[in-house]
Amino acid sequence: MNRIPIIEVKNLVARYGERVILSDINFNIYPGDIFMVIGGSGCGKTTLLNHMIGLLSPFAGDVLIDGQSISRIPENQRLTILKKIGVLYQSGALFGSLDLLQNVALPLEELTDLPKDAILEIARNKLKMVGLEKFFEYLPAEISGGMQKRAAIARAMALDPKILFLDEPTSGLDPISSSEIDQLVVNLAGILGITFVIVSHDVASICKIGGRVILLDNGKIVAEGRPEELRHSKHALAKRFLQVNR
């Protein structure tokens, strides 16, 4: 069957001044995929993610979401693409002055015309999906780091995006919280069919989630495949990365 990619990264080149961060990156991501970008610190993972979510414009090449260029789309149509994606930032980036329910309800209040009761019900359900049904009225500062990440995932899912981008979802978390986040990703991908793009260097997570992986090094894709394939591949860095970090 000829599947249509939901994300296409075509000949992407990224530069900061004269320094080339990403050079000639190409890959496709298909609906329902769990796609992981791994690599050492400074290899260009977050830069790649920022290009995919439209925070940075490519020096050359393009990123297409559902066939539309995220960097070249007119401003008045940009929201249509942005509604298709949800992003979990490394720090969670929850609004400290709002409780969890208000955090999740915020995008629904601002970007939809749903009635208030509908918004609250959706926000409650999203928090239930990530297992935070008892903490609706808690402020972010009152819950643990793992719970903050889960709440941030709930907020990213508020508008039922087709794609969820997770930037280092397990960084700074204990193994149990990390494992809960991994399981959540697997569950959400399985139940909701959301496409996940995960930037990480947590190999335990990568192996547990087990999607398709690309390994970046010096701004280039140096290996691609499933975690098990990479571990047993002939590529030295891939092998080392997945074995040393395990």
């Binding site: 400290g96 002055s97 409780d99 939809t112 015309d113 749903l114 009635p115 009761d117 509908a118 019900e121 959706i122 409650r124 359900n125 999203k126 239930k128 999906m129 297992g131 049904e133 008892k134 903490f135 609706f136 009225e137 808690y138 402020l139 500062a141 009152e142 899912m157 508020a158 508008l159 039922d160 139940i191 909701l192 069919g193």
Partner: protein, 370 residues
């Protein structure tokens, strides 16, 4: 997307959903569905999803709200034709209890709130006293052993606080001198005493306006900067890092700032007074007085003790500005909002403290006959 509402039997309402239940469609039909159920209040509500291919979180929310309405009225609700994936998700959400634990802070009654406020005030007072004690001790230690002072930080902060503040100090000083002389001119002219405007503005600038307005400007500029800088370090755990490295944050961060403020504020005050007098001179020249007359009158009206009194005062004001700014920086709590609160409190508190300290100096000078 559409819905079909039927009454297949008395007391039974059948709602058939035609199309995908995504956020856009649910927005259109939410009110229709909820109103239909409220209006009809059926004994049995039959929801038919056999023609629905996709259902997202908003669709599930609609189903749940309709189910809850029926349950609340002790009536039944049946679901037909919902695809297994969405059925599974609905069951997953239903398994989660709706019983919400309220945050401890939100559960407080009036007595607890009053208690918390009292404890907060006392804790705040204690923190201020402790800070003052540590600061005095660390200042004393630093002055005993000046090699312990971080001179690189001192010069960096001095540059930000001093030379970079000079243009605004000079501009405001000049304008204050110019405007106050200009405003006083008509009244003094009535008595043929325009030359005494030099006494008024000169003495006013040296004794009161110079020290106070320089300090007010620095309270807005420097106290807020100190609070924001130290507050951000607190949030980034840099202060925790200093403590765990065995470094005293007060000696490391506060002492250089206090010393800078105590040194720079009097210098800036001198510039403020000079530019203020320059403003006064400009008005006097336009009124036909020569510079010789201006300086002669100024020399006669201001005693050295007036200069010294103003400088001692501004020295204390510098201490207040830096101390209050740093204190609020160190007391910063969590989040972006906390930085805003700290900087605001730093400015407001230092302004209040300036006026209080100025009042104390006025009293002391009165008693001493200065």
């Amino acid at each position: 997307m559409d819905i079909r509402v039927e009454r297949p039997a008395p007391d039974t309402l059948k709602v058939t959903f035609l199309g995908n239940l995504d956020i856009e469609n649910v927005t259109k039909i939410w009110r229709l569905c909820v109103d239909a159920v409220d209006r009809e209040s059926p004994r049995l509500l039959h929801l038919d999803f056999s023609k629905v291919d996709y259902c997202d979180g908003s669709g599930l929310a609609l189903i749940k709200v309709l189910q809850q309405k029926q349950a609340k009225n002790h009536k039944s609700c049946t679901i037909f034709g919902l695809k297994p994936t969405f059925q599974k998700l609905l069951e997953y959400i239903e398994q989660r209890p709706d019983k919400v634990e309220t945050s401890a802070l939100l559960q407080e009654g009036l007595p607890e709130k009053l208690g918390h406020i009292t404890v907060d005030i006392l804790r705040d007072l204690k923190e201020n006293v402790v800070f003052l004690g540590i600061l005095s001790y660390q200042l004393f230690l630093s002055l005993l052993n000046p090699t312990k002072i971080r001179w690189s930080d001192f010069f960096r902060i001095a540059e930000d606080t001093g030379p970079q503040a000079l243009p605004i100090i000079a501009l405001i000083g000049f304008l204050i001198g110019l405007i106050s002389t200009f405003q006083a001119a008509p009244s003094f002219a009535d008595f043929g005493a325009q030359i005494y405007m030099v006494n008024l503005v000169g003495l006013g600038l040296v004794r009161e306006m110079g020290p106070l307005l320089t300090s007010v400007l620095l309270a807005g500029r420097t106290a807020s900067a100190f609070a924001a800088e130290i507050g951000t370090m607190k949030i980034n755990q840099e202060i925790d890092a200093l403590q765990t490295m065995g470094l005293n944050p007060v000696r490391f961060l506060v002492v250089p700032r206090i010393l800078v403020a105590m040194l720079v504020t009097p210098i800036l005050e001198v510039f403020f007074v000079i530019f203020g007098l320059l403003g006064c001179l400009v008005v006097m020249i336009t009124l036909g007085y020569t510079t010789d007359v201006f300086f002669h009158q100024l020399y006669q009206s201001i005693e050295p003790i007036d200069y010294i009194g103003g400088l001692i005062k501004v020295f204390a004001f510098g201490l207040v500005i830096a101390g209050v700014g740093c204190l609020h920086g160190i007391k910063t709590r969590f989040g972006a909002k906390a930085i805003g609160q700290s900087t605001t409190q730093a400015v407001v508190s230092s302004l209040i403290m300036l006026v209080v300290v100025d009042g104390i100096f006025a009293l002391i000078y009165y008693v001493l006959g200065v």
